[in-house]
């Protein structure tokens, strides 16, 4: 059994080594992400005390089902990103290794101030990665907004510390603070703002357009999958386990999430640039996941985060590569680009259809679970919004897929001469890697109950909400 602290220590050591031994930093990065996956299987579950001080006085790491899923998702997607774009990742080896340490720390830690430190490590690495877009003004913008968020977080945290005398998550939760009281509203709002900035919620997500919109195939894929899912996982823990939301505060946060979802999907509909479409869709999905987390529907939210992360990873990777080849990501200029890239095209299509929530794909299972859980809770307003904007989502993704698959105009017979080009998007090995990733979505969609079990185990997360909907219900088994 391995102590979870190595999940943080090993990437950090390798990050320092990669500065000293710059010539082999590519291999250090690769071994770092591989070791990270390998030790996942041998980690010691439960609570780990750091430095011999018993919590709540010292810092502890918590490894439960929830953090395990987050670690596995972030680790696997980072590994895939590094392998897929090793030429670009080479330059950012040190940054990516530090980011890995920060992400693992964020997911593992059981202390709010410790969470602040790991969040800063992760965000600073994100600032640096965002410079790959060669638009320093957007990176600067991100840095300033991010710093405001961290100052707010710190201020909110200190108020909680002065009121309760503890920063330990479990200890804070045990005090059963009622979030409705006025003196807790301000610090709670401050902490929420910090998360809302990172989770791209309206009106705090102003940095996203510049950073995601100018990302390349490595950074876009990592931002939209690894970073986004990590932030949402931590959001879920903080606003369920540490601060139990209720009453008006809960309503406001849920409303912010739902409005973000509606705005994101509506804005994506109006775009013609593929990265813009994907970034607004990411904002929308993030809003929906945040709303579900705030309502305490952890299992459907986790499903949604996973389905979105894998799909967005594939789509951002392919879009970034397309932009590299054709110098544009306007889909009207990329007509029929999948015509001679069938494998990559199929992977992209599976991801898009899973995001829409078509049956047979994992996204369907995620959305169905969300809707069932919402209806079970007597909520009809949010399901109505989800279903309405699922149509919008379907419209713009199908429009995008048609443009990318079918060369020529409507009514013409599609053939190669109308297609934009016959350049291979990815070489054969990378195409297969992307394709296998998309098969995961398909497989998880075909046998969702197994996937759900793998994700939640039987007990569910954080004292129990398991799947609200299983396939056996569909067959009339229950």
């Amino acid at each position: 059994m391995i102590n979870p602290v190595f999940m943080i220590a090993i990437p950090l050591i390798l990050a320092f080594l990669s500065l000293v031994a710059a010539r082999i930093k590519k291999w250090l990065l690769l071994s770092g992400v591989l070791i990270n996956i390998a030790i996942l299987f041998f980690l010691e579950k439960g609570e780990t005390v750091i430095g011999g001080f018993k919590p709540p006085f010292g810092i502890n790491l918590i490894l439960d089902n929830y953090s395990m899923v987050g670690l596995a998702l972030a680790g696997l997607l980072l590994l895939a990103g590094v392998v897929l774009s090793l030429d670009k990742a080479d330059k950012y080896s040190t940054v990516l290794l530090t980011a890995l340490a920060g992400i693992n720390g964020m997911l593992l830690t059981g202390d709010l101030f410790n969470l602040f430190i790991f969040m800063e490590i992760t965000i600073i690495s994100a600032y640096i990665l965002s410079t790959a877009g060669k638009k320093p003004e957007y990176s600067f913008n991100y840095l300033v907004i991010g710093s405001i968020g961290s100052v707010f977080y710190l201020a909110g945290l200190v108020v909680f510390y002065s009121l309760t005398g503890t920063l330990n998550m479990a200890d804070l939760a045990a005090q059963n603070l009622s979030m409705g009281t006025p003196e807790l509203l301000v610090p709670l709002f401050l902490i929420f703002t910090a998360f809302a900035i990172e989770a791209k919620l309206i009106p705090f997500g102003g940095w996203v357009k510049g950073v995601y919109g100018n990302s390349n195939r490595l950074t876009g894929a990592l931002f939209a999958s690894v970073y986004a899912s990590t932030v949402l996982f931590v959001f879920g823990r903080v606003f369920n386990e540490v601060f139990a939301l209720s009453g008006a505060v809960q309503t406001i946060i849920v409303l912010i999430g739902v409005v973000t979802f509606a705005f994101g999907e509506a804005a994506a509909f109006r775009q013609v640039k593929m990265r813009r479409i994907l970034l607004y869709s990411s904002i929308g999905q993030s809003g929906l996941a945040a709303a579900l987390f705030a309502l305490g529907l952890i299992f459907p939210a986790v499903l949604l985060v996973i389905s979105n992360a894998v799909s967005k990873f594939i789509m951002f990777s392919i879009t970034g590569k397309l932009r590299e080849i054709y110098k544009t990501d306007d889909y009207t200029d990329l007509k029929g680009v999948f015509f001679s890239n069938k494998l990559t095209g199929i992977a992209f299509s599976i991801s898009a259809m899973s995001l829409i929530g078509l049956p047979l794909f994992f996204g369907f299972y995620a959305k169905l679970n969300a809707l069932t859980a919402l209806f079970n809770g007597g909520n009809w307003f949010i399901p109505a919004v989800i279903l309405l904007f699922a149509i919008v989502e379907g419209a713009y993704f199908i429009r995008l897929l048609i443009a990318l698959w079918a060369p020529g105009k409507e009514g013409e017979i599609a053939d190669k001469s109308h297609a934009v080009g016959e350049i291979r998007i990815f070489n054969i090995k990378k195409s297969i890697l992307v394709f296998i990733l998309s098969l995961v979505i398909l497989a998880a969609g075909l046998i969702p109950d197994l996937a759900g079990k793998l994700i939640s185990s039987d007990s569910g997360f954080m004292g129990g909400d398991g799947p609200a909907f299983t396939m056996s219900q569909l067959k009339g088994g229950e």
Partner: protein
Amino acid sequence: MIRLASLLLILIGLYGIFSSRNVIKILIGVNVMELGVNIFIISVGFFKGGIAPILTADSFSSAMKFVDPLAQAMVLTSIVIGLGITALGLVFARKIHAQYDTYDLGAIGGGKDD
């Protein structure tokens, strides 16, 4: 009193960030804000007549009136992080200047996407 002063500093920093278009001035705003929150953290652990939380020959008992050392430890960490962010922000400022020959974000016009 000291808490009010720290909150005022945070607000001054925020005002500086939102009212200025100059990259360097915005960074100064960020720094003022960070300073404000650092003083705020210290003020939480402080009380009048408290002494430094170090066991010496004069103060050897844990029943002495120590100020809260945890808040000071947090400030130390927060200062280091603030330094890192400022350094990175200045790197970005230099890059902006190298690319657009100006520190004024308004003159860049938000920048056109590629």
